[in-house]
């Protein structure tokens, strides 16, 4: 579904990600793990068009989307949930969700799916997004991303700023989405959580892929255990 081959990107003339290849098949959940500053966010931002692709290609459902404008990538069926959420703070939960469906009117079925997944959002539908707690804002960000009925959901550090209990809840929701058939690509530092969700994973360090494989293999890998799972 998504094939990233030899992608390089960065800020201005400063290359952060060099020659990274990742692929995601339909119905899969794929993890990108790595420490702070490894290039995970930069890599995802380049896929979504928020950063220029300086080398390599991004193919989505057979066509190249490298350097496509952000709104065109979104309309092609890829929803990106950035770590900073980028909600509309002065708009209500309902309005944020409605914009997720732009340029179409919000689909009531999709909205009830979001409310089933996050009952909290249904209770707060009139509240301004900017006045909600971090956990609720995270739910809204995912809910808004789902409103366009995306075929691929990309998330950057969905647990940013969340207490451990809320972080596990966030991953429970993502697991529920998987059972509905959603294809997911997620970058995460909390390795145990994300390997519980994903089928496969890539380890990104210093802007390059160091390791890749099925989640079970990565969990047993001594390097991964030492660097990310706190096993000595």
């Amino acid at each position: 579904m998504l094939e990233v081959s030899g992608l390089s990107t960065g800020y201005d003339s400063h290359v952060v990600v060099l020659g990274v290849s990742v692929d995601v098949r339909e119905g899969e959940a794929v993890a990108i793990i790595g420490s702070n500053g490894a290039g995970k966010t930069t890599f995802l931002r380049a896929i979504c068009g928020l950063l220029p692709v300086s080398a390599g290609d991004v193919r989505y459902e057979g066509r190249s989307i490298a350097n496509l404008a952000v709104h065109k990538v979104a309309r092609a069926g890829i929803s990106f949930v950035p770590a900073e959420r980028h909600l509309f703070p002065e708009m209500s939960v309902a309005e944020n969700l409605a914009l997720g469906a732009f340029p179409n009117r919000p689909d009531p079925d999709q909205q009830s799916l979001v409310f089933d997944l996050f009952p909290r959002l249904a209770e707060r539908r009139r509240q301004a997004a900017g006045t909600m707690s971090g956990g609720e804002q995270q739910m809204l960000a995912v809910g808004r991303a789902l409103m366009s009925r995306p075929r691929l959901l990309i998330l950057d550090e969905p647990t940013t700023g969340l207490a451990p209990r809320l972080a596990s809840q966030a991953y429970e929701s993502l697991a529920a989405l998987r059972t509905l058939g959603m294809t997911i690509l997620v970058a995460e530092q909390q390795v145990p959580l994300v390997l519980g969700l994903a089928d496969r994973g890539y380890v990104l360090e210093n802007g390059a892929i160091q390791l890749e494989g099925p989640s079970a293999e990565l969990r047993d890998n001594p390097t991964v255990q030492r660097a990310y799972l706190g096993v000595v």
Binding site: C48, L50, A69, V70, H71, A74, R75, S79, F80, P82, R85, H86, L87, F88, P89, E90, M91, E95, A98, L99, G100, F102, P103, N104, R105, R144, A145, S148
Partner: protein, 285 residues
Amino acid sequence: MTAVIFDGLVLGLQFGLLGVGLTVVYGMGGILNLAYGSIAVVAAVVMSVSMRAGLQAGPAVVLGILTAAGISLTLNSTVLKPVYRRRGEDRVLLSLLLTIGVAFIIDGLLVWRFPIEALGLNVGWEPVSIIGVRMRAGSLLASAITLLVGGSLIFFFRATTTGKAVRSVIQDEVGARLCGVNPAAVRTLIFALSGVLGGIFVATQAMTSPVPISAGFEFTITALLVTVVGGLGSIRGAFLAGLILGIVNAMSSFYIGSYITTIILLAAAALTIVLRPSGLFGERA
């Protein structure tokens, strides 16, 4: 006293409309368009000249409004192009410099080609009495138009998908793009809307007193005051600020003298900024 407040309300509604045209452009792109008032005056000149050439008032006003929208769109797609490549303060500053240049050029051309042009729209109906105050028909029609346009604007921004898309770009441009909103298309729409509002403003002004070609700078300053007091980028703030400044304007003109009104307006604006630095409804603090 009641009559003065009524006058202030009529003026204030118009100020609000004028302010909205400036504040949405700022909120959306960080562009302070100092040519705004001059573009509105071009609309007035087009209306006046085409009426003298035999056009009816209605079509002439529409032609003027469309001209203002056209100039505003042209400004967005030519002069302001380099501005969008910059971010933050750089963008605001460059937009100030370029649009003030455009304002000088427009004002210069007007003085050269139409030195004695002034737009007056005579509403020839009898004055009407409202709770004991005699109101000129021109004032009432101007208020009715302004209220109608203001109401439509609020409906547009609150209830339509396109209106929500505009607000989404004002509140978080990255978030808007991730939702599939094309900020360049929204910008085009808003510049056209801004020109239309400037055009409607001069038409309603001309219903109560003639609009001379020299009024551009004053209109820009008024719009700027309304925008700053209301909070940059805030639509409801602009209407509230417009009403407040309209009433202050009418009161000080009546009780103190029109020569000092501008100073009082500026003082009122300064006071608001001291008390609430982000304006009455600053979308961003």
